[in-house]
């Protein structure tokens, strides 16, 4: 057995390295660091169909992530999907005639909300609402329409 004070130092180093490891996992590996600077405001948009959008999906403008989806709920009166988004406070100049649309990153990637700023001088405040929205493109629907249309075309050609 080693001298006790060396042993104490080694145990201390061991525990410290464990704490460093956990910190590394928390800050460098996981999304914990993105919670820390979370100084944000909430805006709401109503979509006819929000598709595969999930809470924590990114919200971006011009391709840059500026916030994330906080919650998605169904409005039983208007039959619309109500999407609440948290936008980082540093981006506080979003015009109130902004268009929100649900896009897909790549062909099979995850879905996100894209904000296309309008030209208004009035900016969205906390609890603001986006009036102009564009629903998610449902792949099945699009394929269905395409097939239907091509069938129609070929029927017309035969006439």
């Amino acid at each position: 057995m080693q001298h006790t004070s060396t042993q104490d130092t080694l145990v201390g180093l061991f525990v410290a390295s464990g704490i460093v490891g956990l910190f590394f996992l928390a800050l460098q590996v996981s999304n914990l660091s993105s919670f820390v600077e979370e100084d944000s405001y909430t805006i709401t948009a109503r979509f006819e169909n929000s598709g595969g959008l999930k809470p924590k999906s990114p919200v971006s403008a011009a391709g840059v992530k500026i916030g994330k989806v906080r919650s998605i709920s169904f409005d039983p009166k208007t039959y619309e999907s109500v999407v609440q988004m948290s936008i980082n406070s540093q981006y506080n100049t979003i015009p109130d005639d902004t268009t929100a649309s649900v896009f897909t990153a790549g062909l099979l990637g995850e879905q996100y909300v894209n904000l296309e700023p309008g030209g208004s001088d009035v900016f969205l405040q906390n609890d603001g609402k986006i009036e102009i929205t564009q629903s998610a493109i449902i792949l099945e629907k699009a394929i269905g329409q395409f097939l239907f249309k091509s069938a129609e075309d070929s029927a017309e050609e035969k006439k």
Binding site: F14, G18, I19, V29, N31
Partner: protein
């Protein structure tokens, strides 16, 4: 035929008796925690032999596991043109599964077997009964410090394993194979959730530390006090720990990650 049934009954009975003794032993061990906390020197000594001495094997294995994950992940992912998600793959598999499980298996092999042999030999050389003669409770004096040390060391070792493994994956992935380093980390950060992945991984390693230390100490305490008995107990420690860790891992994974 009757003989067969008799044997079956006897085996069942002895295994249940053993489980009962094990549970009693565990309760005894836990009841000694307060008296150990009053004498932290005992705990510190055990932290050294259980934790610090396992440090090297855990970190080196972690590094190599991470490097292998980086290589294999890259070959598979590059077929789909998705090399950038290598970080997610390495980190998720390490933090959720490989970190807790492999470090617990190594822990059972490195520290658990040593504990069993140590306690078994103490029993064989009648040190434990000697303590009882001196009115020192051997469970409180010998077992509980080792149990606590295992319980504390295991999450630390698992966290180290994952952290070193992720760095190893990065060394291979972006250092050797040319995955973009920024993408490696940012994809990882975007997809690994602190609560769902990391906290659950820590809970897992805690459970594994509990079960591995319990089995190791009980097998030693329950060993037949001969050299053959101790060697058998050591074997049983490694086998039973491995079974329990892998079985529990399945249950814990089903409970924790069932939703998504």
């Amino acid at each position: 035929m009757i003989q067969l049934l008799q044997n079956l009954g006897a085996t069942t009975r002895t295994s249940f008796t053993k489980l009962g003794r094990g549970t009693y032993f565990l309760l005894q061990t836990i009841s000694g925690i307060l008296s150990v906390l009053a004498r932290p020197r005992l705990l510190l000594n055990q932290m050294y032999s259980v934790g610090v001495l396992s440090f090297l094997i855990i970190t080196i294995s972690g590094l190599f596991v991470g490097m292998v994950l980086g290589l294999q992940g890259y070959y598979t992912l590059s077929d789909f043109g998705a090399e950038e998600t290598l970080g997610v793959m390495v980190a998720a598999s390490l933090v959720r599964e490989l970190g807790p499980v492999v470090s617990a298996l190594l822990f059972a092999g490195r520290a658990g077997s040593a504990l069993t042999a140590e306690i078994g030999l103490m029993k064989a050389t009648e040190q434990l009964s000697g303590m009882e003669m001196m009115a020192v409770d051997p469970v409180k004096r010998i077992i509980t410090p080792r149990f606590l040390a295992g319980l504390i060391s295991m999450p630390i070792l698992a966290a180290l394993f994952s952290a070193v493994g992720i760095i190893g994956g990065q060394i291979i992935g972006s250092g050797l194979l040319g995955v973009d380093e920024g993408a490696y980390w940012s994809q990882m950060q975007a997809n690994i959730d602190f609560q769902d992945d990391i906290i659950n991984g820590v809970i897992k390693s805690f459970v594994f530390g509990f079960i591995a230390s319990w089995i190791a100490l009980f097998e030693g305490y329950d060993a037949i006090p001969t050299s053959e008995g101790v060697s058998r107990a050591t074997t049983r420690t490694v086998v039973n720990s491995a079974f329990s860790i892998l079985g529990l891992d399945f249950i814990l994974t089903a409970l924790m990650f069932g939703d998504d």
